[in-house]
């Protein structure tokens, strides 16, 4: 019962954040066709279903448009992401560890 209550509380917070995001995005006008330099509305395309920009992976400038086959380099992406996380961890943890060691050494 307690867990259910917690799940409901999380759901409530999630719903509030979701509602705020949707309101902000719609109010900003960013969802209107022709916003920015992104894909434009294709008239007559899809029989009234509207136009969804084609799926092109997570980041533009990577993947098929560079002639890279997904099958060949599938490990590069996860390695790069792990490297980014590893760099951040090193950049934060290492100086703290050095500072702690110095503090210990200087302590009387």
């Amino acid at each position: 019962m307690r867990t259910l209550g917690r799940i409901l509380a999380l759901g409530l917070v999630f719903s509030v954040v979701t509602a705020l995001i949707v309101i902000i995005v719609n109010a900003s006008g960013a969802n209107a066709p022709g916003f920015g330099d992104g894909p434009q509305f294709r008239p007559g395309g899809g029989g009234g279903e509207g136009f969804r920009p084609p799926f092109d992976g997570n980041r533009p400038g990577q993947g098929r448009e560079e002639g890279r086959e997904a099958g060949e380099f599938w490990l590069l992406g996860p390695i790069k992401n792990v490297a980014v996380i590893g760099l951040l961890v090193t950049a934060i943890v290492w100086p703290r560890s050095i500072a702690r060691k110095n503090r210990k050494r200087l302590a009387p």
Partner: protein, 172 residues
Amino acid sequence: MTDEIVKTSTGQTKTKIWMDILIFIVFLVMMEPRSSGLAVHEWLGLSMLATITVHLLLSWEWIIEITRRFAGRLGLQNRLNYILNWLLFIDGTLLMISGIMISEVALPYLGIKLPIGFAWRRLHDMSANIVLLLLGVHTALHWNWIVNTFSKYLIQPFKNLFSLKAGKDGAK
């Protein structure tokens, strides 16, 4: 860091570390939809709702305790961690909602049609990159806990298993 404020049981800590490993692996797969395929990307994304809920439920005491203490006396690291976790939650929600809005496989399969929004794909890409950075900082702030828990519940039992085996072999 969680253990500094709230004591957790061994079982809970074990569940938490396995859950975190699972979330990390799923996150890495999801960050490369080109490799995994759109269907896997979308279904894994929806399943992340459940795993993140469990992750938050396992840290519930810490969340409540820090929320109570936030206005009063609280260490800088816990304060930073709390703010970062909120940012991660908001950005994660944006990532999930924008993903649902641009869904091409999972939602149509469930028979759900959503209005087309032109900003959602960009927001999805942007929030994915921000989540990666926030996850890096989140991992760094919990680094001591990760190293200690890994060593205690994953590496040490493995070592003990081999030393036991070696001991038995030596006795023979």
